[in-house]
Amino acid sequence: MSLDYSAAVAANRFGLGAKPGELDLIGADARGWLEAQLRGPAPVLPTSGLRPTADILSDAAVIRQQLQALRRATTGKPAAAPASPAADPASAEALAAVMRLPQLFRPIYIAEVQARLRNAVATERPWVERLVYFWSNHFAVSIDKLAVMGVAGSLEREAIRPHVLGNFRELLLAVEQHPAMLLYLDNQRSVGPNSQLAQRAARRDRTLGLNENLAREILELHTLGVDAGYTQADVTSFAKVLTGWSLGAGYGAGKMQDGASELFMFRPALHEPGAQTVFHHRYDQAEQAQGRAVLSDLALARPTARHIATKLARHFIADDPPPAAVARIAEAFERSGGDLPQVYRALFQSAEAWQTPLAKYKTPQDYLLSVYRGLQLPVADGPKSIAAFDVLGQRQFAPGSPAGWPDRSDDWDGASALMKRIEFADALAQRLGGTRAVAELGPQLLGATYSDETRVSLKRAASDGQALTLLLTAPEFLRR
């Protein structure tokens, strides 16, 4: 007997996990269901209560100025350290001041994660939503850098969502100009060694110069990939190209220009003059046009196509993706000039994507989204509703490095991680008790991948609560 797994694969691997009724909706036309989601404008997140980056960073700039004023006021005081902060009002004030930025950012972060989670539970286009998360992880920022905590969510909303069904070049340009990325990879104060600003500083005996971080990670992570053959000289030249890619008040070096916002700002005084050679091409454009030209070429370079195709195939097909599928996706990328819907089509039209159901072990994020969708759980206000991501090991927007979260079973299938998943499932099932018809839920969420073994274990369960635990910990529910 040959089972048709395609609806389950579409909903659980390409989507975010089936919600009740979804597998019926998909029916026999899994590819058609995916194709339909690629049509129409990119889905936006319902943004009530969410703020634009410029607003958030204006508030942060005010706090930074207060902190700087406080620091200036305290320098020059006698160096004798006070016994404790409580004994010294100035020091207590300093500590309270240090808390102001996290106090501003934390509620914003929580609201962003909640909005994203609510949307994931409800969306009718879960495949596009998963693609948004894929790109968000490809262009990862991490909130363990405090400056990023308030704007990680708005990076996804403002730079990634609008381009998820567009062109890779536009996506790349939007991300690399977003304040969250510039702050995360330290480009806002990177100064060309021969720029106007560096020369002025040199006259006052101060040295300003390059920061390579953004340039290196664009080449290694965002575009060409680490094995493309670029050199340290390419990194340094590209860092020079990107000097001046900065943002408005409170962050960039040098004087603020009239009318500048907290968003991307090119600062000519920081820019290294002259032509640069990056990855075999010479760029003699002036100012910001130079960086746009380099990014445009990188976006369409052959190694970039291959790098993106490999990551997509690893995410949607297998940890070690079949080379033929990678080649097909890369070819679609090159042929279409980075037109993302055509790339996605090459992916889901690859037979390999459908041949091995449950080939991917769910990340904690995959797991939680599939639980929330499958049970249609409400997302309450307050920080508790998103704590499960932290507990299960994937605090949202916190991969800890610009490489983003890893995407192989080995990285997620640890014993301790499994036990946490089991404990979480059981605590949830006990709380929900008999409110779900678990016997019907199994086939609704897992379709053809729902195994006889799991069916029998649920049937024999001592209570509805226990049956739900067994469903949410079943091997086929831990994979996609």
């Binding site: 350290a81 902060p85 020091s91 300093a94 500590l95 240090v98 808390m99 996290p102 363990d144 405090l146 905590m149 990879l185 330290d186 104060r189 990177s190 100064v191 060694p193 560096a198 040295t207 300003l208 110069g209 390059l210 920061n211 390579e212 971080n213 290196r216 290694e220 680490v226 340290q232 990194v235 507990v391 090991g393 800890g400 490095s401 490489a403 079973s409 080995d410 299938d413 640890g414 014993a415 301790s416 991680a417 499994l418 036990m419 946490k420 089991i422 404990e423 979480f424 059981d426 605590a427 073994e453 274990s457 024999r460 369960a461 001592a462 226990q466 635990t469 067994l470 910990t473 091997p475």
Partner: protein
Amino acid sequence: MNRDQPAPINRRSLLKLGLAAGGAALAARYSFAAPAAGPSRLVFIILRGALDGMSAVPPYADPDYARLRGELAIAAPGAGDGALALDGYFGLNPGLTFMHEAYGAHELLVLPAVATGYRERSHFDGQDVLESGVTQPHATQSGWLNRALVNLPAASRRGRESGVALAQNVPLVLRGSAEVASWSPSVLPDLDDDTMRRIADRYASDPLLARRLAEALATGGEVDQAPSQAMGGDVAGTAGTAGAAAMNPVVRSTAGRYIETVRTAAGFLRRDDGPAVAVFDTTGWDTHFNEGGAQGQLRTRLAVLDQSLRTLKETLGDVWGHTVVLLATEFGRTAAANGTRGTDHGTGSAAFLLGGAVAGGRVLADWPGLSARNLYQQRDLKPTLDLRSVMKSVLHEHLQIASGALDRDVFPDSSAAPYIAGLLRSNAA
């Protein structure tokens, strides 16, 4: 799991899985086979993000150091906010007070110019090589510590698993065919016995999940019984007043949790049937911007690391005398400061061997110097010692792993990395 309650379920589930019996048999076999078994422990602390070795171990007497480092330079010992004195040439970052005490007690060996065989500057490839122990990134799916455990002689074995990762998931360095555990603290309640048994039954036909569940139950039971006490002092307090004020509050709460986790893990490690090898992960060493020198961001992070090492020693008690802690990073940072008061990706960095079994109180350096012609590619500290030499020698001397296995399986193609004699105290094991 609830750490205050014994967890009888774990043992019963293990019996159900048929593993506890195997574990007991193993333990019995080895406890009789090896009466002279030394309780040697090896802890590998991975410093992810490329530690700035020249700030952790400032070479203040190098004539080019202050010029290259500018405001990041740390002054000679004795000056205000100067380095902590080592051998008259190198010092320790002022945040590393415990490590400095350990140096005085001959328990810290400082290696100021080391690297793996990797010579590019990608964090992710660099970490892959640091953990895999082979020369090319992504060439293998197993780590050098796991391959070492495969070759662990009976005499060095105690518990069922010989290695544990202090994390939810096992990092590459510990992946492979030898059975290892992962552990991280949990705030979730335990399951009842019956539900756990049913899950174990369901996983019996799924090799990966069956293995992972068995590992989790075994580790959970052992950690439940490990001593764990509430943290006394405030982490930020031990980091120094200046450190506390400079520290991002998010980092501060993370630091407290990290040190608590180290304490619990150390309680697990000290047990007679605890693992021989543990891996701790730390992140946040990628200091491109506002790195700081004697004060600031990096010093604060180093102080938290230092406090966790003090906690490790205190909790290990007598076992500290038989412990080697290796601290290493994927590569170093530029010799000169960059344009944003930080440092970019480089090559040579510092590593440390710490513990009661270490022949410490020394700086082991063939210092290449920091003049332009001595820098690697005119920009980075040139490494003069291969980290694999250190790793091999420790595995050989401390865990008695045969050199044949080390050269063939654990570090293939490492003939350029010879063994170093005398890293450890001869009477320690």
